[in-house]
Symmetry: C2
Subunit: 353 residues, 2 copies
Amino acid sequence: MGRAPGAETDDAFSDRPRSTGPARLADVALAAGVSVATVSNVLNWPGKVGAATTERVRQAMEALDYVPHEGAARLRRGSSRSIGLVLPDVANAFYAHMARGAADAAFDHRYTLILCDSADDAEREEGYLAMLAEQRAAGAVVAPLGADTARLLRLRRRGVRLAVVDRAEPTTQSCSVSVDDVRGGRLAVEHLLALGHRDIALVNGALSIRQCADRYEGARQAVAHRPDVRLRQVNVDTMDAASGRAATAGLSGAAAPTAVFGTNDQLAIGVTQALLGGGRRVPDDVAVVGYGDLEIAPYGPVPLTTVAQPVYELGRAAVELMLDEIDQGDRHVHRAKVFAPELVVRQSAPAPR
Amino acid sequence: MGRAPGAETDDAFSDRPRSTGPARLADVALAAGVSVATVSNVLNWPGKVGAATTERVRQAMEALDYVPHEGAARLRRGSSRSIGLVLPDVANAFYAHMARGAADAAFDHRYTLILCDSADDAEREEGYLAMLAEQRAAGAVVAPLGADTARLLRLRRRGVRLAVVDRAEPTTQSCSVSVDDVRGGRLAVEHLLALGHRDIALVNGALSIRQCADRYEGARQAVAHRPDVRLRQVNVDTMDAASGRAATAGLSGAAAPTAVFGTNDQLAIGVTQALLGGGRRVPDDVAVVGYGDLEIAPYGPVPLTTVAQPVYELGRAAVELMLDEIDQGDRHVHRAKVFAPELVVRQSAPAPR
């Protein structure tokens, strides 16, 4: 088929560049005994080429492990089959699980996910947004750092489609995916009420943090029509175990609460450690509920009852909304998807009898 | 500068496509009052254009938020400024920290990192490798699933450069980055010996797992010339807290060891839970050492002494070796970088007095 058989051809063939690099269009054409234009047509205009020739070209591609050059197709399309995932710290379990959900959704649609770890740094977040624009990413899913929407607007201006994750956003600008933290706070305190507790302490971060304010609001709603219940709040600067232990010192003595709701699992485990260290039993003397249900909750001194957030689902849903926007173009309608958290009951505040 | 001033021009200007999408070369040329060819020269052949014109074009680019089209440059170069990171599960803290290190290194060199989460699935890993080849990734850092090297060879054949992370590899094929787990096992047991323990139990996974075999080998080396020391091993199928608890049941009674080395932190915390549950004190009756030092180690029932792996550094070093290969081309020499783990002393096996 246009090729001379025999040893000479084989030698020439083995000297081709493809033996030290990936196969090229010309290699496929040679192997299939067709012109380069025909191979190109098989790739780009399948209807133009007969079935037998198409099959021969496909077999040659497979034999040579030929990979079509995605870059060329991308230039025609104007954007790549990749989506950016911009988050503050992938080593944080919350974002790691979110990344897993996002990666799964992207893979299902044969999109790649570009991991943009801003390291909690606004300048670096900017740098990533520029890189995404340069590489003509089809879109970006952003877990915004703090409440600064100026940067989000800037990314939109760069022509990269945007979906926001872990924050409810007005649907005029973009899709968003978030968790109902008010409901989460309500679930935690309602569980303690069902266990008979009437004196509950909230160990919480600063109310300037949206999540902390929402979880407090939920707790407040749970006791709104319960004048028999005392709800107090201790606010800490850093939401870690040490702060939980320190906060517990102020909650001992005769007026100690019978239950503590720590608004993340680190705080709740710190509270548990301090209670046990002070000779009190959990949950017999004091019940403890946390918030998060990531790695550490089952490993604490007492397996922790806590509010689980569908973090994996957040990442998955955000990518799926973005893919809808990419696929549907002008027909796409922005949506704000809100997930409900769930209570996971373990030993530190068991199920009511 | 070749543009008529006034309201009409402004209207015409605001009607341009760039108002609903990113600015294009023609928009920059119009705004700077130069030809499209001149703008292209400023981008690609800076020496060709005078300083004043260059400055005018740069200002126009900035005013319009113009982003050069990376795709075109990529086509010329043959590969993109992106690197794949192929790992079995980014939601696992070990890989999440590795991803963070890899992302930091890539960002420092203005490369993007494509997150390829194989979900512990060989077929999916294959799918990602194909996508990386299609998108002409400049290279891939792979944390291989199991010991199957056939897939690694296949990726190399696709023309994607490869570095292996979390496994020592012969340097004939690629760079690799790993942790010396033999040394880690030795560190753990040497610490227990220094505390005076002479009866030590290893709670370990299957010896067919490279890491488990290496950690056992290190433990064995530590007691090699100590006929006064008894080292026993209990192997479990699943390396989690429940298995740690179950294994501890077989280590009680009169012949119980005075120290336990759990070869991951989950096992060690399970052991600690079971010991405390059985009324024994940690570390007073039994000392416990773990391995990993990720999220859970400080949060256990007793803060855990454990062997820390430089996981972040693994990810960072693997990307840096890959970037060296990309930059140096034929001058690059493959290296096998091995990191030393370190003992982190906490309460479950404190420092010797």
